[in-house]
Subunit: 432 residues, 2 copies
């Protein structure tokens, strides 16, 4: 024993002396009250201040981002991850413009969803209110920090962010910019909190903070999402992977089939709404496949196909059982001949992750059955699966795409960050 031993243990990952995750979440909870009752004008002024502020802070943001990128390269991060981590002037301008799009949306708070007057004269109204404190756990994409903070602010929520170690320097600067924007319009900076400096323990505490955090949104890899779903005691909205299907029905137009499949696969293969499997009606396979597949091949797509496809279009690799369940996120596609709509529905029920499926058809009965019977967040007829996107749906940006059925399903915008409450107005009524 030496006289210099500290008498109190200080956790090594508690970077802010005397602070704790719980203390920050409690400050977020207090700040959430000011956000919940803030007028739309004030929230929009904060968003405009953020759009201006993030561009004004470009130099600081990019310096921090360079540090993160250097650390990432040293740590051997894959090129794709480094690309998602990287900011530049144009991407920063993109962040500002996303924030302005969110500001331009209708304020969801205070909207009346249902209302009625009971026989005894009591008036009941269900109105939109913020959740309170929204938690987000995501991987090294600095744009998610700005998107989620802006969506939370627009919907009157405080937010607690855990953004991934690889982006920690960039996120630290971005969060300071967001907090300054809040302060500049008289809203509490504490409405935006990070737990990044607590490392993995910060994420764990966030997941255990039932009562302090109202909802937690994990956004990132399947393994991240699974870990949060399994560990969290806070209610979770699951955003998920997409094994996305397009079914080419007997009556599908060749040109639509060709362009929709090509767009859905090639326009951006690394995202969750890209198509992974094409099913084609046996009676139309000979007509459709040469056009559909040669268009894909010309863009460098590898075709994983069953024997029936290979008989009609030989330049393929043989598909295995694994192919039907794979989210490639690359220029690969699985193609299978089916006996018709029922067979296609069976295949989709078995392999779909419930994200997006599309049918190409001229037959209204087939299209209506497909729309009714496919149990996915988004079901389409004669359109590219790439349209499953908050921006495309007019939401400004998205918190993520929910593949679960509770609370939110499909692209999540500001409305999906709200709860409701019932307002009951009486004149002395009691229950008989």
């Amino acid at each position: 024993m030496t006289t210099t031993s500290p008498t109190v243990d200080v956790p090594a990952n508690d970077a802010v002396s005397g602070d704790s995750v719980t203390a920050r979440l409690e400050r977020a909870r207090v700040a959430s009250r000011a956000l919940a009752t803030a007028n739309g004008d004030v929230k929009n002024a904060a968003l405009e201040a953020l759009a201006v502020g993030v561009v004004a802070a470009s130099e600081r943001v990019l310096a921090a981002n360079t540090t993160d990128l250097e650390n990432g390269r040293t740590a051997g991060l894959a090129d794709g991850l480094l690309d998602r981590l990287r900011l530049d002037d144009s991407r920063i301008a993109g962040l500002a413009s996303a924030v302005r799009e969110i500001a331009a949306l209708t304020d969801p708070i205070g909207q009346t969803l249902r209302g009625s007057k009971l026989p005894n004269g009591v008036k009941i109204d269900q109105v939109r209110v913020p959740f309170g404190v929204v938690g987000a756990i995501y991987e090294a994409r600095p744009n998610v920090t700005i998107d989620i903070a802006a969506l939370a602010l627009k919907s009157g929520n405080a937010v607690a962010l855990r953004g991934g170690t690889a982006a920690e320097n960039t996120n630290r600067v971005l969060i300071a910019v967001i907090r300054d924007a809040l302060t500049s319009v008289g809203l509490p900076a504490d409405a935006v909190q990070t737990v990044d400096d607590f490392g993995r323990a910060g994420a764990t505490e966030l997941m255990q903070a039932r009562g302090l955090v109202d909802v937690l949104v994990p956004r990132g890899s399947a393994s991240l999402i699974q870990a949060v779903v399994t560990e969290s005691r806070v209610p979770v909205i699951e955003t998920g992977a997409g094994v996305v299907h397009i079914y080419l029905d007997e009556t599908a137009r060749t040109d639509w089939a060709t362009e929709i499949v090509h767009n859905a696969k090639v326009q951006r293969p690394s995202v969750c709404n890209a198509v992974e499997t094409v099913l084609v009606h046996r009676a139309a396979a000979e007509r459709l496949l040469p056009s559909v597949l040669s268009r894909l091949a010309a863009s460098g797509v590898t075709i994983h196909a069953d024997e029936a496809v290979a008989g009609l279009y030989p330049d393929v690799v043989a598909a295995t059982e694994d192919d039907w369940a794979t989210e490639y996120m690359s220029l690969d596609i699985a193609v299978r001949v089916v006996d018709g709509l029922d067979d296609a529905l069976d295949h989709i029920r078995r392999y779909s992750t419930g994200h997006t499926e599309s049918i190409v058809t001229e037959d209204v009965a087939a299209s209506e059955r497909f729309l009714a019977e496919v149990d996915s967040a988004v079901v389409m007829v004669n359109a590219s699966t790439r349209f499953t996107d908050g921006g495309e749906f007019g939401f400004g940006a998205e918190v993520g795409i929910s593949t679960q059925k509770l609370h939110a399903r499909g692209p999540m915008g500001v409305s999906e960050l709200t709860s409701t409450k019932w307002i009951v107005r009486g004149t002395g009524q009691v229950r008989g």
Copy 2:
């Protein structure tokens, strides 16, 4: 070793040879497809068959219920629990009439909640769809079996029920009646499953059945709900306890304050929407308390009060810190003098369980602040808290009263047992 030993272990609680919880949930999942696409007429015919069937089966139901009551008495069940377990002809008629009320509701399935046409001509619509398979874990109340099955059927869901050992005989007969009603109109009996015969293991498997069960609703004691929230991997909608407050503001009318508090406490003290704490503005305490408290005392209510109250109305017991956090569910009430609205809001923030709070006031500014700032599922002005109820709100019956913010908040009817999906209709559009 003897030659008569069984060669295969059969779990003692697996009453159906070769069956399993998973097998039943998979059959429910298959059956859910027929429910999801069933027309409203067919679902209503099944509900009418159930209403007729439960009355026709009275003799069988009451015989089974007698067995449960005898077992309950032997096991030393409290009188209150025995009362909730007991059925008689009049209660069976009540079950039938609740089922008919549910049949009379508008079918929520297929309703369009939002829709728009994108600039490129793609049409998007958000429509209500069933969850698929709804799980419920509840305690020994046979009426919940009928209520939840009927609400699930109306909303196009299959259901998996775990109803508490004390009611197992009654529930077995009721579930047979429900399954017969489905079959009688051509719907699959497998849409209603019980896991009661698997005992506690059945509940555990239900909570682990992520992917087979879409949402789980626990209904019962605080400890049951906490256990489900903690253990379940299936998304849970928490129904909760009510530490319910009424705040009597400076301008509260004496007659309204007196009758609202009395009704909220005395009409049915054992339920979650009964008031537990009354807060009274200091400037109105002398005017209001004698009337409010003597009316309560005349109905046998014990008043747990702070010193300021005791100074004005001496016939009280001294309140302790515990009283402010207690859901009495009995003829007890806690009463406190506060300095005004801010003080009342602070108290409510600290002790409320977020169920229902009501203000009695003539002051519109105070009422609007209370409605805006109290963060509870239901917030009222000048009305009894006993109105927080699915039946009172016009929902026919209720699955429970949600005190969480995700998906459903307040009384849960058929709409709260639905999810949504996006229907996208194009004419060959691809993303640019």
